[in-house]
């Protein structure tokens, strides 16, 4: 599409997300919109090509994950026992602050100065890099997208493709600024330069830091799903490996990975399998020349248990594939930073206010950044009823009288009065037929005018249903 033609919503009213959208450039809009559409199409095509009934597979995935969450009081202790049996050290962090301190202490006790980090949303969630910097530890993002963000002082706008909001020209400029070579915006050149730059970092680092896509309770295996080889490097050269793992990442047994790996990869990147699937169940075996001698697993709660005990618990099934945001019409318009938190899109609109705990009201507008089209619910590989959760959170925000949840909403008192008085309602319906004769762009309400300027309305036929219903009773 021609980005110059794209006009954004009126900035001086509405919710925070509307105001953000008004500030993003046509370039960002075009990048996010086209990448999202391509990923959504690839996901749907691949699932349909590979499985006679992909919906059956995702129903199964949803059931297994829900079962695991509902029995986390059994699976979590089992996972811990398995990890320890394999020679890993396990630490429990109730919140982000504890997790940061545990990781900082582990690194400092071993004199670590530099860590190489592979992409992890959990570490983003607890703002680990900034914290490590305060303790004099340099944390190098090694995923290409995350590295670009780090040298730019930017944050991910997508959980799988973190740099989707930047185009090659912006990336080439960042590389030039950071001394990685003269301006060159060929993706291949950019990639080779990152490879060269990172080699030395990998081999000199004191520790490798990762998240985990899954943690298997029965075998104590951490599973990492990646493409670039950066996490393999992070687990090959340094002598220490620390993994930060949300407690919702657990699955019961190795065989269940078959369900989740097949769905995760197809849903996330439209690949049938990623280049690298790593299974880590302990420190390196004796006598091996490479690999960490010490493995520490930090289990992160950070608000998850509160969600587990409440009516929104199914959001914890999420396997962070990003399919819900790729398909979301609001995300496609707004891009990830509009959601003001680590997790954007529909899953973010549910998870962010919930993880905020007592600060729920600060994010009470996010569940309203939704047209209730239902596409996210259809796309979710673990069958989370996202639209339903969003509606329930809107209700909760209203009941809590969260100011942000009412922002941009017209007062409904007048409508309520009309709707609860039948004679008034009938009169209003008749009067509204006048709207068919009025030129709508004369409307004195700016938000309505912004909407109607580019759209036509169908003919208003108020009262037709009541008439039909009355006659139906007489027949």
């Amino acid at each position: 599409m021609n980005t110059n033609e794209h006009e954004f919503a009126v900035p001086h009213f509405g919710q925070p997300i509307d105001r953000f959208v008004a500030t993003i450039s046509g370039e960002v809009y075009a990048a996010v919109h086209s990448a999202s559409a391509i990923k959504s199409d690839k996901r749907a095509q691949l699932l349909a090509a590979d499985y006679a009934d992909p919906l059956k597979l995702r129903a199964l995935a949803g059931q297994i994950k829900q079962h695991t969450l509902d029995h986390l009081d059994r699976y979590l202790p089992q996972a811990v026992a398995s990890l320890e049996r394999n020679g890993a050290r396990v630490h429990c962090a109730a919140d982000g602050e504890e997790a940061r301190r545990i990781i900082g202490d582990l690194l400092q006790q071993r004199g670590a100065k530099t860590v190489v980090k592979s992409k992890s949303m959990a570490t983003e969630e607890i703002h680990l890099n900034d914290y490590l910097a305060t303790r004099g530890i340099e944390s190098v993002e090694t995923d290409l997208g995350e590295f670009i963000l780090q040298i730019d002082g930017d944050t991910p706008s997508h959980i799988v493709t973190p740099v989707v909001h930047k185009n090659r020209r912006q990336i080439a400029q960042s590389f030039e600024r950071h001394g990685l070579g003269a301006y060159n915006d060929e993706p291949e050149t950019i990639t080779r330069r990152a490879r060269r730059f990172m080699r030395d970092r990998f081999l000199r680092a004191d520790a490798g830091l990762t998240g985990a896509n899954f943690l298997v309770a029965e075998s104590g295996r951490l599973v990492l799903v990646t493409n670039e080889g950066n996490s393999r490097f992070s687990l090959s050269a340094p002598r220490l490996h620390i993994a930060l793992v949300g407690i919702e990442k657990i699955v019961p047994a190795d065989r269940d990975l078959g369900v989740f790996l097949n769905l995760l990869v197809r849903s996330a990147t439209g690949q049938q399998f990623t280049a690298y699937t790593e299974f880590i169940s302990g420190p390196r075996a004796d006598g091996r020349p490479s690999g960490a001698e010490e493995l520490h697993v930090v289990l992160l709660d950070n608000g998850r248990t509160d969600i587990l005990g409440a009516e929104y618990r199914e959001i914890l099934r999420c396997i962070r594939c990003g399919a819900c945001m790729n398909i979301c019409p609001v995300y496609r318009q707004a891009s990830g930073h509009a959601y003001r938190a680590v997790y954007p899109g529909p899953v973010g609109a549910v998870l962010t206010p919930l993880l905020a705990g007592e600060h729920f009201a600060q994010f009470a507008d996010l569940p309203k950044a939704c047209s209730v089209c239902g596409a996210c619910g259809d796309a979710c590989p673990v069958n989370i009823a996202l639209p339903d959760l969003l509606l329930r959170l809107r209700d909760r925000a209203k009941r809590a009288h969260a100011a942000l949840s009412a922002r941009g909403t017209p007062p409904m008192g007048g409508f309520a009065a009309v709707a609860t008085h039948p004679p008034l309602w009938r009169a209003a319906l008749t009067a509204s037929r006048l709207a068919n004769r009025l030129p709508l762009d004369w409307l004195p309400v700016p938000p309505l005018r912004a909407w109607t300027r580019r759209r036509t309305l169908p003919e208003f036929r108020g009262g037709a249903f009541r008439q039909w219903f009355k006659q139906r009773g007489q027949q």
């Binding site: 590979d50 394999n86 290409l144 990152a194 169940s281 709660d301």
Partner: protein, 200 residues
Amino acid sequence: MATKEEFFATISQALSANSARAPYPPYADTDLVAKPRVAGGSAEAVFRKNFAAAGGVTVSDLGELKAELARHDTKRGVCDPALSATLGGLDIEWTTTFDRQRPDDYAVGATIASGAIAETGSLILKDRATCDRLAALAPWVHVAVVRRADIFLTLPEALTRLGDDPYVVFATGPSKTADVEGILIQGVHGPGAQIAWLVD
């Protein structure tokens, strides 16, 4: 820092309000297989097809390997000591230990794979069978020697036989990224070329 017991207790308490806990659903491993991907012949034939689709190259003898390596600049290499006699016939200067001071000296790394997965076109690299993780990772070209008898037809077969090795990698073609404008580039931090040498 929370003790494990405190941590578990919080979770038990959160779950105590949940009266309808979901049961574990019954399913067969065959339900998970992408049937069109495993159609069309032996495990080896299926592996070759899917490995190629992932960007990998399969060779069957030293001649084919030599021809494939000729497409790259492969003056020096690092290989598993068990392979050095066989690979000695190639015009490559081999060493059997990976020197971390000179990671970019090796254009090719040759290691022994523990198996392969036909359905996904993946090599199974188990750490105890790999001479050095870095030899399978840092060089631009990685050659994995895999026995035909060790090819699993489906992913569930491989997942339920991971064994007790502390580090297992399923390598599906070369390393890749699409972080820049969604354009696929092969060869990021890992190998840019992935070769599977099938042996009996």
